[in-house]
């Protein structure tokens, strides 16, 4: 039973409380009570904010629902609070002055819907760089189509984030060294020391949430895979689970097991790639090359098993498209065994390389208190004491059938971020080894044609290599999606990123960036 029901102060404020999913209740609060209810959840129940977003009320056009989703703790389930707002320029009191983690979500609500979280200190210039778009709220149902006209992109004009004598302002990006994603950093430094970094994201905003509104769920799976190509399986898994929950669709046991196997394969290659990137950032060329060799071997394994290097086109609603025959299972077992052997040797060598460790140790520290305030997720959170993992806390797919531990560290520095990935790779290999003998014969997908009743909604989540991802789906008429909300892990972790380089020196910046292993594509959608 959800402990929120026992909290009288809170349950009095809740109206129409209902179960969205097992262990997940949703209730309406008055706009005036929203901040109080959120703070009570956060402070009294140790809940952390997972997501905040808005949507248009299906029954009443022009009315919007603003939703705040909290996770209550390891065994407590989830709570979603929503409030209704009306009018041409609706507003409600912002939560972010009390709960810092809501900051970016509220900025997104403002730009996407024109709903003003009153009291938020910094609204606008978040997603859109273009002055012509200032009164265009794309996720409103009345906004549609391609905006052909419009002025040029407004390049960052905001003054220096920090003013003072000797403060040097360094703009970096969106096009900068090497093969890198389009992000803009505003670095304020004094001498060697970095005072603050302001990342400007959403250069890569591709309007996925809006695009999905004209698609069938089957088609949107392909879109979910491309939120971030390298964590496509985790994203599409969360989306498929949301849709399956919505349609009350059973996934065959084999499908659940295979999903777990592929999700772990994705984690392994991503973590190895992240550690290799970290070597690259410290100019340890041979070390990086060894890591990329391992990564390439795993990508090739993915193709041999599924036909795609990044596991795209594997997930479908109701299960997975591919089965693993006997040879493929044997190939998977052998390749993993070899990769693990070489991985251990590689890690051992890295741990014996002082020049490498010196660059990581004590650099880019995120303290547990900040990590909690910012609601960090994934390995980046787990090195700062955030002991949360959807796989263990709310098991999905076949995670309840396997034994594994979730490594949690307290140091919060670059070295710990490498260490946690290394430990997670070991765990993931263990998980796959446990699952392989249990893979039964059968069909990998439920091929029944699901029905999607209009007005139904559901939530799905998964723990990807970069952290927990959360998808909400509302269905509309004709089996088309009405609203798709994605809360990718990078959106949360980018928000927390500026905390880490604070006070470190200039040349540590790329190392800290690599140690976070964040993706702009995933954040921007």
């Amino acid at each position: 039973m959800n402990p929120v029901f026992f909290d009288e102060a809170l349950s009095q404020k809740l109206a129409h409380a209902s179960e969205v999913a097992p262990e997940h209740i949703a209730g309406e609060v008055n706009a005036a009570d929203l901040v109080g209810a959120c703070v009570r959840l956060n402070d009294q129940h140790g809940a952390r904010l997972l997501d905040a977003f808005a949507l248009e009320n299906q029954e009443q056009p022009g009315q919007y629902l603003v939703c705040y989703t909290f996770e209550l703790g390891r065994d407590g389930g989830m709570v979603t609070l929503y409030t209704k707002v009306n009018g041409e320029r609706p507003g409600y009191p912002a939560v972010s002055p009390c709960i810092h983690a809501a900051d970016w979500f509220e900025r997104e609500i403002y730009e996407m819907y024109g709903i003003e979280p009153a009291g938020h200190p910094m609204l606008g210039e978040f997603i859109f760089r273009n002055s012509a778009l200032q009164n265009f709220f794309p996720l409103r149902k009345t906004s549609a189509g391609v905006i052909q006209s419009g002025g040029d992109e407004v390049l960052p004009t905001a003054g220096p984030a920090i003013k003072g004598e000797g403060v040097f302002e360094m703009p970096l990006g969106p096009v900068y060294s090497g093969v890198a994603e389009a992000i803009h950093f505003q670095l304020s430094s004094i001498g060697e020391e970095i005072l603050w970094v302001t990342p400007r994201l959403f250069y890569k905003h591709r309007a996925y949430e809006k695009t999905a509104e004209n698609l069938l769920p089957q088609q949107a799976v392909l879109l979910a895979e491309r939120i971030s190509g390298t964590t496509g399986f985790a994203e599409s898994l969360a989306f498929c689970q949301a849709v399956e929950n919505l349609a009350h669709m059973e996934v065959p046991e084999l499908g659940l097991y295979l999903r777990t196997v592929f999700a772990e394969l994705e984690r392994i290659y991503n973590h190895i790639g992240s550690i290799a990137d970290l070597c690259e950032s410290t100019s340890l060329g041979v070390g990086a090359a060894q890591g990329y060799i391992l990564k390439e071997r795993l990508l090739r394994l993915n193709t041999q098993l599924t036909g795609h290097r990044y596991l795209m086109g594997v997930n479908r609603i109701g299960g997975v498209r591919v089965d693993l025959n006997k040879e493929k299972r044997e190939l998977l077992r052998q390749t993993l065994r070899d990769v693990r052997r070489d991985f251990r040797k590689w890690i051992k060598m890295l741990q014996d390389t002082d020049t490498y460790l010196d660059r990581l140790e004590g650099i880019g520290v995120v303290k547990p208190a900040s990590a909690k305030d910012l609601s960090l997720t994934g390995p980046v959170g787990r090195v700062s004491g955030v002991d949360r993992d959807f796989r263990r806390d709310h098991p999905y797919a076949a995670y309840s059938e396997v034994r594994f531990t979730v490594p949690v560290l307290e140091d919060g520095d670059c070295l710990a971020r490498m260490r946690v990935r290394e430990l997670e790779v070991e765990e993931s290999v263990e998980i796959i080894e446990q699952l392989l003998p249990q893979l039964s014969a059968g069909i990998p997908a439920n091929s029944a044609v699901p029905e999607f009743p209009a007005g139904e909604y559901a939530c799905g989540f998964s723990e990807g290599p970069r952290g927990g991802t959360l998808h909400w789906v509302w269905m509309g008429e004709g089996g088309l999606i009405w609203r798709w909300r994605v809360r990718p892990p990078s959106l949360v972790n980018w928000h927390a990123y500026p905390v880490a380089p604070e006070g470190s020196v200039f040349q540590d910046f790329p190392i800290i960036l690599a140690s976070f292993g964040l993706s702009a594509a995933e954040c921007d959608r």
């Binding site: 096009v175 990564k295 594509a521």
Partner: protein, 251 residues
């Protein structure tokens, strides 16, 4: 450091010999490609075209001609091969997917093309620009520098400054927020210069020009010389595309 040198030496050469040797048989180097294997097909069936989410397959219901796949729009979801009742479309390991388009690039005119190819034949500096890709393209492009593909052996180099570059390699559908950056990067590259689009998004597929955030296709903004299909294009496909642009492989 000495142990890293030894480790590097002890790791045997893993680099592919492509294009000097055919490499169709490397297991798993390329995602599977739907290919049309027969030239006759059922005249009453167009399931492949119906199931294709991006409209990359053209199939007439009136004639028994086999379907045509436009790889520039294909996102390699492999559903067509799954539904094809006669296995006319099947999955292959084909990876040489690029073709020289007759777009507005400098390779269009035979005279310029030869001059450019002579200039860049042995050394080509590439400035990559991410114009909104989903990161899979990015991962494959950076894999070109990894030991397995090692593009430097062919005289290709990634360069940090557009002023040192000969070719602009664009991935992603070109988001509105990056249109201006793309234009500026292009202008900063000295003449003669080429533009290569990598991946289905840059080739004008699915996302491009479809919504408020991606309003123009790459080829309507810049003169594109070559598109490399793939979602994402695997490293060998990228290598083939680059070599094709320089005339170092034919077809």
């Amino acid at each position: 450091m000495a142990n890293w040198v030894l480790k590097g030496l002890a790791t045997q050469v893993v680099t592919t010999r492509y294009p000097f040797r055919r490499e169709d048989d490397i297991p798993g180097a390329c995602s599977f490609t739907p290919s049309v294997t027969k030239d006759q097909c059922l005249s009453t069936c167009a399931e492949c075209a119906e199931v294709c989410p991006t409209g990359a397959i053209r199939k007439s219901l009136l004639s028994p001609d086999a379907p045509e796949i436009d790889y520039a729009r294909c996102i390699f979801c492999r559903q067509c091969a799954e539904v094809c009742p006669k296995r006319i479309i099947s999955l292959s390991k084909r990876f040489e997917l690029s073709s020289l388009n007759d777009g507005g690039g400098i390779l269009k005119e035979a005279g310029t093309a030869n001059k450019v190819r002579r200039l860049f034949r042995r050394s080509l500096h590439i400035r990559h620009m991410d114009a909104g890709s989903c990161e899979a393209c990015l991962s494959e492009i950076s894999a070109l520098s990894s030991p397995y593909y090692d593009l430097n052996r062919l005289g290709f180099f990634f360069t940090n400054s557009p002023r040192h570059a000969d070719v602009l390699l664009v991935s992603g559908p070109v988001t509105k927020n990056l249109e201006q950056s793309l234009q500026k990067t292009y202008e900063a590259i000295p003449e003669p210069k080429m533009v290569i689009g990598a991946g289905t998004c840059a080739a004008g597929g699915w996302m491009a020009g479809q919504n408020y955030a991606c309003r123009k296709r790459l080829d309507s903004l810049l003169p594109v010389d070559l598109v490399i299909p793939g979602c994402p294009p695997s490293p060998l496909t990228l290598l083939h595309g680059l070599l094709l642009a320089l005339g170092r492989v034919t077809k």
